[in-house]
């Protein structure tokens, strides 16, 4: 790689702290800085992917960085492997798109908003790169705290209630993860993920299982899988649309990364399998799939409906990953990438329409097609992709998911996912219909939270981002085989954690 991976964390972090300073002197300069910094960070992410591509295909991609020169396992290290690269690229791409979208979307307290957004990006990049489990916890909390503040950004009653609800769940999840980490440290005396992976089988069985229970509970709360799903609809429904997109598109996928990193590499999947908990995980994930789709049926408000659909899809990803077969992991990773594209697109296009009307939230989507037809068609394309119509990308990830379940003879799962598709068709249709109704009510721009017109504040920013997402959804549907080779490398890394251990501790360091 041509530059240190540390830059991917430092750039958003530095920008976040510079914004309030620049804001004191000149507002227009700050606006320019936000755009430049976001583009530069996208460029860095792209350069990282471009320069790493040959190594990625050869299966030798690994970069580590030792903070202040302490070699692992003594110091904190960054361990950037191909799985990290995939999720880091996702974080970079979606942060960039959402920052550009917010330029035309957020109209009050912009300075604070971008500080939080860049801090969030830094936190997510940190999560996917760090090789130290406590460092991981710190970055999880960094992204969590910034997301709390971003959800409460509208400062109306509904968003404050949503934040309180999310914070109680989030703090509890943080405590559980911390407790799991402490149990591991107490028995092994190390915090380095590679060293934990190397020695985890030496911990007495009860302690192994206790720490896994705490870590898993914390993560399932963050993922919103069945018994802990109560925060999702309220939070996604009340946050600004750009933030809902960030939460379900980026943060949820980063949580999938943590799940993979901790339970496939850190503790080894055999701990889950020997205790029979992989079946348990499969069960609750499937339950949350069907529950999410059923609950979405009775929602009359578009963002809440998308939240429940998100719950269904996250459940499906966790379920197919918990099969722990190469095909299952492939399908899970593919659906994680594709779901991020589709769900971000859905939230962003719906947010574009919701912004234009005052009044009860259920009625705001009416007349969307007359407001801006291309964006409305985009909404329909994303919805079709979610349901799994062949030329679009959602079809391929669902296809592989079903094959993975077939391979393991989990027939109920196939029935559940298939009925999820049918239910999806049923719950997206009313919104398409609602969008085409009500021509006489011309949508009026909401006065409170729309950006002041100016060079940077044009509707064009919002629409361009949605068009880019439509393009990505359609092109990734035509070229799903691009993902095949790099994903096989990642799956090999996940199924043989010994590679990660050797890379980190064996002194094989690329500079």
């Amino acid at each position: 790689m041509i530059f240190s991976p540390l830059l991917l964390i430092l750039l958003p972090l530095g920008t976040a702290f510079l914004i309030p300073l620049v804001d004191l002197f000149h507002v227009e300069t700050r606006r320019l800085m936000v755009i430049i910094s976001a583009s530069f960070s996208l460029f860095l992410g792209f350069a990282a992917l471009w320069s790493a591509w040959p190594e990625l295909l050869a299966g030798t991609f690994f970069h580590s960085y030792h903070l202040s020169g302490w070699l692992p396992p003594l110091g904190i290290n960054l361990a950037f492997d191909s799985l990290g690269l995939l999720f880091s690229s996702l974080v970079t791409l979606f942060s960039f798109l959402i920052i550009v979208y917010s330029i035309g979307f957020i109209g009050h307290h912009e300075g604070k908003y971008y500080v939080l957004l860049f801090l969030f990006q830094a936190g997510c990049q940190g999560i996917v790169m760090t090789g130290d489990i406590f460092n991981l916890y710190v970055f999880i909390e960094l992204s969590a705290i910034t997301s709390y503040a971003l959800i409460a950004f509208e400062r109306d009653r509904s968003s404050l209630e949503a934040t309180i609800k999310y914070m109680v769940y989030g703090i509890l999840a943080g405590v559980f993860i911390f407790l799991g980490i402490i149990i591991i440290y107490r028995s092994l005396g190390t915090l380095n993920i590679a060293e934990i992976a190397d020695n985890f089988h030496r911990i007495p069985l009860t302690l192994q299982r206790t720490s896994v229970v705490f870590l898993l509970t914390g993560l399932l709360i963050k993922l919103g899988v069945f018994p802990f799903h109560f925060w999702m609809a309220k939070v996604y429904g009340s946050a600004p649309a750009s933030i809902s997109a960030l939460l379900s598109g980026t943060l949820a996928k980063v949580n999938i990364y943590i799940l993979l990193r901790l339970f496939w590499v850190g503790t080894g999947f055999s701990v889950l399998r020997e205790a029979g908990w992989d079946r348990f995980l499969l069960g609750i994930a499937l339950l949350s799939t069907i529950l999410g789709h059923v609950l979405a049926l009775r929602e009359r408000e578009v963002k809440r409906m998308l939240a429940f659909s998100s719950m269904g899809h996250m459940g499906m990803i966790v379920a197919v990953l918990s099969l722990n077969t190469p095909l299952g992991l492939f399908a899970g990773l593919l659906h994680a990438v594709f779901h991020a594209l589709m769900k971000t697109g859905l939230f962003l296009s719906a947010g574009y329409f919701l912004r234009f009307r005052e009044g009860p939230k259920e009625k705001r989507f009416t007349g969307a097609a007359y407001r801006k037809l291309p964006i409305f068609i985009g909404f329909i394309i994303f919805a079709l992709s979610m349901i799994g119509i062949p030329p679009l990308n959602g079809f391929f990830s669902k296809w592989f998911t079903m094959q993975a379940f077939l391979e393991k003879d989990v027939y109920p799962a196939i029935a559940l996912i298939y009925s999820g598709n049918i239910l999806g068709l049923i719950y997206y249709l009313p919104f398409v219909r609602q969008g085409m109704l009500g021509k006489e009510s011309i949508m009026k721009q909401k006065s409170t939270s729309s950006p002041t017109p100016g060079f940077f504040y044009q509707e064009r920013f919002v629409t361009t981002v949605v068009y880019i997402l439509i393009l990505l959804v359609m092109s990734s549907g035509l070229l799903p085989f691009v993902f095949q080779e790099p994903f096989e490398v990642m799956i090999a890394e996940l199924t043989e954690p010994i590679r990660y251990i050797e890379h980190v501790l064996g002194g094989i360091i690329h500079e």
Partner: protein, 111 residues
């Protein structure tokens, strides 16, 4: 042993007050109890060993306290303090709008 029992007791009291209390401030206290219990348990695991964790070159083999749990706890306390501050701010803001902090009278928290 007594420390572990204290930890479990504090943790359970905290969890109870999160789940059973109908008042937001009491819920925050419960969250802090849970966090405090975990921090307490973390530092008690190093209480047996020797002196200050600085290697004395004259006696390099002297036992010393493991400094890492204390560093971890300190970091986690900072995180916990900032989340608590944010949560309390939001509760105050909500109280200004809704004039109540009872969960039962806040419709948005029950759905």
């Amino acid at each position: 042993m007594i420390y572990s029992l204290c930890f479990v007791a504090l943790f359970m009291i905290g969890l109870y007050s999160i789940l059973a209390q109908r008042d937001l401030i009491k819920m925050v206290i419960g969250l802090n109890l849970v966090e405090g219990a975990v921090f307490f348990w973390t530092i008690t695991m190093v209480r047996e060993a020797g002196g200050v964790p600085i290697v004395d070159l004259a006696f390099p083999e002297l036992p010393m306290v493991d400094p890492i749990p204390q560093a971890l706890t300190l970091t986690a306390i900072v995180i916990s303090a900032s989340t608590t501050a944010l949560l309390l701010t939001i509760i105050v803001e909500l109280n200004r709008m809704a004039r109540t902090i009872e969960i039962d009278s806040l419709k948005g928290l029950r759905e």
